[in-house]
Symmetry: C2
Subunit: 165 residues, 2 copies
Amino acid sequence: MEKAETREVERRVERFIETARAAGIKITHQRLEIFREVASSLEHPDAETVYRAVAIRMPTVSLDTVYRTLWMLNDLGLIRTLGPRRESVRFDANTTSHHHYVCVRCGLVRDFESDELNTLPVPHGVRSFGTVVATHVEVRGICESCALHQSPSGQDRVAQSTDRE
Amino acid sequence: MEKAETREVERRVERFIETARAAGIKITHQRLEIFREVASSLEHPDAETVYRAVAIRMPTVSLDTVYRTLWMLNDLGLIRTLGPRRESVRFDANTTSHHHYVCVRCGLVRDFESDELNTLPVPHGVRSFGTVVATHVEVRGICESCALHQSPSGQDRVAQSTDRE
DNA sequence: CTGACTGCAAACCCTTTGCAGACCG
DNA sequence: CGGTCTGCAAAGGGTTTGCAGTCAG
């Protein structure tokens, strides 16, 4: 379980406190611990993982508080999600190598091909993580349909998604 | 609801029949309809969507058959999943623009930065989908840890993931 | 003090599974 | 015909929500 730099973590906690205060949100013991946990992890943990870690120092926290806090932090823009918020598994009959255009508003996904993007120059540092088998590009934007029905700029909790192949 | 070219759909159905036959899997009415539905959609539908579409022509299919069939098709390599197989939502305190290295074996995700990758040349055709706000690269491979514990090459249903930001 | 927050438990949604009858080959 | 496959219904895992007591400010 590797950790982010202490200095960076402190910077983030500071930012959390300011942001929460500005938004009129109470800085509770639980929220502080939960945020610190996510902020100091490199693992992109899920709620359960955060819960287990926080529960060591705070045996009374509940999993649902962790969920509520994480989504609150997300809404404040202090953390992000990896993978679409709540979505079912989607299937694709195109089994050739391709990339995706994703609408961040409605979640529409369209395929496109690009030999250029199939062979991207991967930064040196990445090699330290492991072998490189393939690269996949996700282009994000607002699709035509959404641009027309110009949504009243609701915050898109839709946020982001992880997309192997 | 746009559709894939008829010719391409037929080609895929043909391939399904051959592959299934070769694998000793029965070609039932349900399976044919379910595969045809996924093969002719550009929407990357989820199980529920496939189910609703198929149910029109085949009112007795059940949702669980759709699930079973979709995973079977996935195991045969005839379709793929978009997004990690079944995973909980994961959170990330790094809110700056960055990319991901993903281990296709264990699901480990690591961040990395690259100005180069932040501004990729997006193919012309993509513009027809909508505006382009950002590009995100996901590099896939086998992480060091997995390479050591060299898994007995179990088929990774883990397959793929969609990875916004 | 007082409204925002928390813990609990029950509800929800998507997905999977056990079982007995139905059907492909 | 026999083993596979299907439909049903119920279970499962992750996540959310209603409620009453608790705590930050």
